[in-house]
């Protein structure tokens, strides 16, 4: 494997990690707010808090890892995306800042403040929406590139049905992933009330998520035919993804093996995400920047890869400890500790 490919693969996998852990987090925020409106807050609140409290910071680091990593491996992305995305990414920063800090304020400080919960819930939907615009822009057609700089065609972005399709897909996926995980978590906590509510949410968001994915896929044809065709070539990966979706849905529907159901849904997204990434290859920004001309020098790449391996060796045991103490610890999950 070339270093370029290795670099982008590592980053893409970490981005996927962010997509999953952040989805759980963002969706949970939305469900808390939503259940407050419908008067069912008591059902969900405790279980969601117990899961989120120890991990929210870790979630954020996944994102930091991705953007620091991409600038490290592909410094030219800093130029193209950095120049063009000042406004949309600033919006994401602000949403992330409000969410992260008010989550902490609400959890450790003033418990059960309605305002905090509201901010927390709304940002959970808006952040994925704003972050995915970066993926939309990577399809090409939204930037004006001159010798003086790179500019975003904001109107084109805001009026593009494709762009809104992606936003919708992101939101629905977030809710689906999150609900499926929390269903599993609720069962572990032996909280049957929360479990049945979350199971309904999962089922409710499942079919829409796939439908919207299919629609967005067809919209890509008008946006970037080359990418679309490459995706068609990878149809088998999307089939695997679909098979995982069916498996997950079946298990949830039958109230069986929620752990496996969530794993299947994760795999569903993994294959779709991977296929999307592979078909995007070799472009970081269509059609001006590929992973080859945006790549850093070889020495730096090797240094980064070594740092990455050493870092992982430290990280994996630590993450394992975190999961063991909280996620997979029966007493903790059930709230007896």
């Amino acid at each position: 494997m070339s270093l370029e490919l290795l670099g982008i693969s590592v980053l893409w996998i970490f981005l996927f990690g962010y997509v999953i852990v952040a989805s759980i987090d963002f969706g949970a925020g939305f469900f808390i707010t939503y259940s407050e409106w419908t008067g069912q807050k008591q059902v969900l609140h405790k279980i969601i808090q117990r899961y989120l409290s120890p991990v929210w910071e870790v979630t954020n680091v996944f994102l930091v890892f991705f953007f620091v990593g991409i600038v490290g491996f592909f410094p030219k992305t800093a130029y193209y995306y950095g120049s063009a995305l000042l406004v949309p990414v600033s919006i994401s920063i602000i949403l992330l800042a409000i969410r992260g800090s008010y989550y902490a304020f609400g959890t450790y400080g003033s418990k059960d403040n309605k305002w905090y919960t509201f901010l927390y819930g709304v940002t959970g939907v808006l952040i994925p929406a704003s972050l995915t615009t970066v993926l939309t822009i990577s399809e090409g057609g939204y930037l004006t590139i001159t010798d003086n700089g790179v500019y975003l065609k904001l109107t084109a972005l805001l009026t593009s049905p494709y762009s809104w399709g992606v936003v919708l897909l992101a939101i629905v996926s977030v809710l689906f992933i999150s609900a499926s995980f929390l269903t599993y978590y609720a069962r572990k906590a032996e909280d049957s009330h929360a479990e049945s509510l979350l199971r309904q949410y999962t089922l409710g968001w499942s079919v829409p998520s796939v439908l919207i994915a299919v629609i967005v896929f067809y919209m890509l044809k008008t946006q970037n035919v080359e990418h679309f065709n490459q995706m068609v070539d990878l149809a088998w990966m999307f089939m695997i993804s679909l098979a995982f979706f069916m498996t997950g849905l079946y298990l949830i529907y039958k109230r069986k093996a929620y752990g496996w159901a969530f794993t299947a849904i994760t795999m569903q997204y993994f294959f779709a995400f991977l296929a999307y990434g592979i078909s995007h290859y070799p472009y970081l920004l269509y059609p001006v920047l590929t992973i080859y001309d945006g790549f850093t020098n070889e020495t730096m790449a090797i240094a980064l890869v070594i740092a990455f391996i050493v870092g992982l060796l430290l990280l994996i045991p630590a993450l394992y400890l975190l999961l063991r103490l909280f996620l997979f610890n029966r007493d903790y999950v059930k709230g007896t500790r």
């Binding site: 120890p54 954020n60 930091v64 490290g72 920063i93 902490a104 304020f105 400080g109």
Partner: protein, 450 residues
Amino acid sequence: MTYDATMYSRILTELTLAFHIIFATIGVGVPLMIALAQWVGIKRNDNHYIMLARRWTRGFTITVAVGVVTGTAIGLQLSLLWPKFMEAAGQVIALPLFMETFAFFFEAIFLGIYIYTWNRFKKPIYHFLLLIPVAIGSSASAFFITTVNAFMNTPQGFEIVNGVITNINPIEAMFNPAVPTKVGHVLTSAYMTSAFVLASLAAFQMLKGKDHVYYKKALKITMIPAIVFSIATAVVGDFSGKFLADYQPEKLAAAEWHFETESHAPLILYGYLDENGEVKGALEIPYALSILAGNTPSTEVIGLNEFPEDERPPLYVHYFFDLMVTLGILLTIVALLYAVLLKWKPHLAHKKWMLRAIVWSAPLSLLAIEIGWFFAEVGRQPWILRGYLKVSETATTSPHVDTLIIVFGLLYIVLTIGAGVVLRRMFKNNPPEQELKEYGWDHGGEKHVS
């Protein structure tokens, strides 16, 4: 005013960094202090110290949250506001930035565990051990980010051939000449500031008339490290001066209004420049600049006139430097005075004027951090990468930076208010006396619970 993207980008960078650095500094220093309190508590079997560690940790979760979100902001803003700088520098100095994210990971994971496991271990020492990776992680992230900043001051580890960066050596770039003094000074000043901040909280309560022994213990366990670290900060600051004399003489010269290269140079404190550029009203300490630069009065100190006019930093950094040094000396005196009183005149150590001075030490040391950074960063002007890239060549061309300054300004106000309100509520509604009673820890050390 006409729109100037470079200018606005600088303001926005300053704004975010100035805000982030407060929380970053606390984030670096406070874990060390928590560890100290918990360690002493376990060793002496004194629950007052355990309570201190617990309460500091609770407040710390709030400051960390703000540190994390503002850090994420500055991390992204570096690419958004300085795209050409990041494109160029990324090729050479990406390594420590990348390693920093691992330090964050490490810290975040163990902090998450630490906060939620106060009662989960049979032996308290296991819980204490979880704090060590937190302290290492946060100091390591300060180390890595400071190497990046050091690189901006003394870039090395690459060559430019026909405008292309080649022959890159990431390790050499990371361990550039500015690293030892810069990292040393940043770390010691962060520890020092955190110690003062925590000391001032205790002093503040005592001023309000609280007299539980808990507060006296809190004051002592924070002020002793404050002495150590304020002296260390001053010593490393002195080394930083020598570093500047060798590697960034224009920064030192601007800080000292030192125009002609000469030996036996005096140190100029405060004062002002008249129309003719003459220094007026300043306090002059003979030979002191030469001594700061090279330990002997005969050291020759390079003057500002050696540099082309468009490569000189603005002269107002003089005030930043003087103020930082003044505060450093003042704060060291406060800490030493407390210790001397405590040892020889204990009845004076908790007098109102002493406590007031300690309360003031917190805002003043934070101020020293801020102006220290402004000195270091403005003193690098006009360079963003000293000798290679100027600030004005690297800014974004986006037409919206001015609006964003306002938006981010509002964000930081909201965060400040939010954090302030929550912290106040957290500690006011649950004073330590009450909490100690709840735990049956009123007599901290005397009652043995083993």
